[in-house]
Amino acid sequence: MTELASSPSIPRPASLTWNLAKPLRANLGRYILLAIAISYGVLILGLPLAVVLLEAFKKGLGSYREALLARDALGAMSLSLLVAFLVVPLNTVFGLAAAWLLGKFRFRGRNLLITLIDLPLAVSPVVAGLMFVLLYGAQSPLGPWLAAHDLKIIFALPGIWLSSLFVTLPYVARELLPLLESQGTELEEAAALLGASGWQNFWHISLPRMKWALLHGIILCNARVLGEFGAVSVVSGHIRGKTNTLPLHIEILYNEYQFTAAFAAASVLAFLALITLVFKRVAQKHHTQAASLSA
């Protein structure tokens, strides 16, 4: 499932004056479309964000800061970052390899592989968590052996790492595949003919051209790991300060009636994502401008 196809380096769209030649009536249609789009976007996505931010700052900046610096909150953030640190690079390497393989080559079973890579997006996070409980839980075939060697997988960091990795496995691959497919292979072939080795080809020709899609994929993968709730809550033992990632910590805060603190922690994730995304757009804009100036 080509979920999350790359949000492209958005080319400068035609400005509103594209067809002012037409009488007002047609432009009216354009403004109505704009109104529908913006109001739908704000209603469905903007308002929830607003609620989160409003609740987060309801009791003022002081309590906001306090909520974020609480010991458990910091512990949860560190764990989330640790998990992201252990998951995102792996999924990125995998994403690059898979997208390169599926984008540049045609072989038997290619479609099956594409479908398989999409699967985690369609699988309910709860099922993802359940899978790992069945695989490494005490009642699983591996259970007794793991217990004997005191290897704790679920209800400890490895379990959280595995389920987060599973849920966000396709994000980088999904982002790169459409781009690599559309780019075809002329440049790589040309470079290969000029004697570039596999790595040189990849490093100097292919990588620069997919830089933005790759960055976007990494940002999404990272945001998703930090924000994963369903799968992690099944495999995490909810041990305070030890196996509680940020989303789980938010749930605890919520269940202890500390609503402002819960939203404060949530707002961190929202800010993180929005800022990285806008930053990417800005950097991209400079890049394309610089490129067009020098071209």
Partner: protein, 333 residues
């Protein structure tokens, strides 16, 4: 900007597992409403234990739905002690060989150092005039209670209602089922746990009355504002007995058997009973009960053994697949 040193220690501790952790740690897998209780109890016990034995112990807490925690322990959560909402959830641990089946004999009061009961929480001024169980099925009353399939407290709520109907004049199984069925028709939201239900009622203004643990009701009053809600104690209710037990297999593996047993027996001490009462749980010790008499109103309480023949029978008859609860929901919607 995150303290990297802290990150490293955390990672190290997690990856290498507890044996290398400096001090011995006890993991207490508990259900939702005891978060605040065990925060205070643990502080007291640890300092008390340090004086007695000089060993600096650590206690980690894990909270969640009672059933969910029991499942987690079965699936490998290495909890040294389990302090859950109802005996059935620990029986299940015993069935899986995690502790001996006669766990209830090893601690006083059959392993229930504190009790509670099921009460109603209503909006300030009791707008719908709810006095007892029968008011719950009045036409315009919206009821909020967690899902008996997942919540421990939810099952006490269900059994309390069932018990009430049975104890009315001429009450019988059929009438009780009709009453409970009617009650659940009034339920607008079925959260998975007690805390979720309280939040739906208090924070999101769902329904008119919340069925909850007495201790949760007290907590809701001082956390969410005594000016917004008030407690209504029904004429009759069930003696809710949350239970505690050492998870032998895990404790022996961690070599924390001694500490675990001391931790649980500490719950029966005067000092602990006082903390328990302060957190809205009904203490076992008569002296402390006397001191908090005015807080815990008199209410005639029936036990699960009296009316339902114990938890295993109740679970089988009411909550298992195709049990009475399923039938109630089968018919009601």
């Amino acid at each position: 900007m995150f303290p990297t040193r802290r990150l490293a220690v955390l990672a190290l501790g997690l990856i290498l597992g507890s044996p290398l952790a400096p001090a011995k740690t006890l993991l207490n897998a508990s259900y939702d409403p005891t978060r605040e209780l065990y925060r205070d109890i643990n502080k007291e016990f640890l300092s008390d234990w340090k004086q007695k034995t000089g060993e600096s112990l650590e206690i980690e807490q894990s909270h969640g739905g009672s059933g969910k925690q029991a499942r987690a322990i079965i699936d490998g959560l290495e909890a040294d002690v389990a302090t859950l909402a109802l005996a059935y959830d620990i029986d299940v641990l015993a069935d899986k060989g995690l502790l001996s089946p006669n766990w209830q004999e090893r601690l006083p009061n059959k392993g229930a150092p504190y009790t509670s009961t099921i009460v109603f929480l209503v909006r300030k001024g009791n707008p719908k005039g709810i006095k007892d169980w029968n008011d719950l099925i009045k036409a315009d009353v919206g009821v909020v209670t967690p899902n008996p399939k997942t919540g421990g407290g939810a099952r006490w709520n269900y059994l309390a209602a069932w018990g009430y109907a049975l104890k009315q004049k001429g009450g019988n199984e059929l009438k009780a089922k009709a009453f409970v069925q009617e009650l659940y028709k009034h339920v607008k939201v079925l959260d998975s746990g007690a805390r979720g239900a309280t939040t739906s009622f208090a924070e999101r203004g769902v329904g008119d009355v919340l069925l909850t643990w007495e201790n949760e009701a007290f907590l809701a009053l001082n956390e969410l504002g005594a000016d917004r809600f008030e407690i209504v104690v029904p004429s009759v209710s069930i003696l809710a007995e949350p239970v505690v037990a050492v998870v032998d297999r895990v404790a022996t593996k961690h070599g924390t058997q001694k500490q675990a047993e001391a931790y649980l027996s500490y719950l029966y001490t005067e000092k602990a009973q006082d903390i328990i009462a302060r957190h809205g749980f009904r203490p076992r010790s008569p002296k402390v009960a006397q001191a908090y008499a005015e807080r815990f109103k008199k209410v005639s309480l029936f036990t699960i053994d009296e009316l339902f023949g114990g938890w295993r029978a109740a679970q089988k008859k009411h909550f298992d697949e195709g049990g009475l609860f399923d039938q109630i929901y089968g018919a009601s919607s």
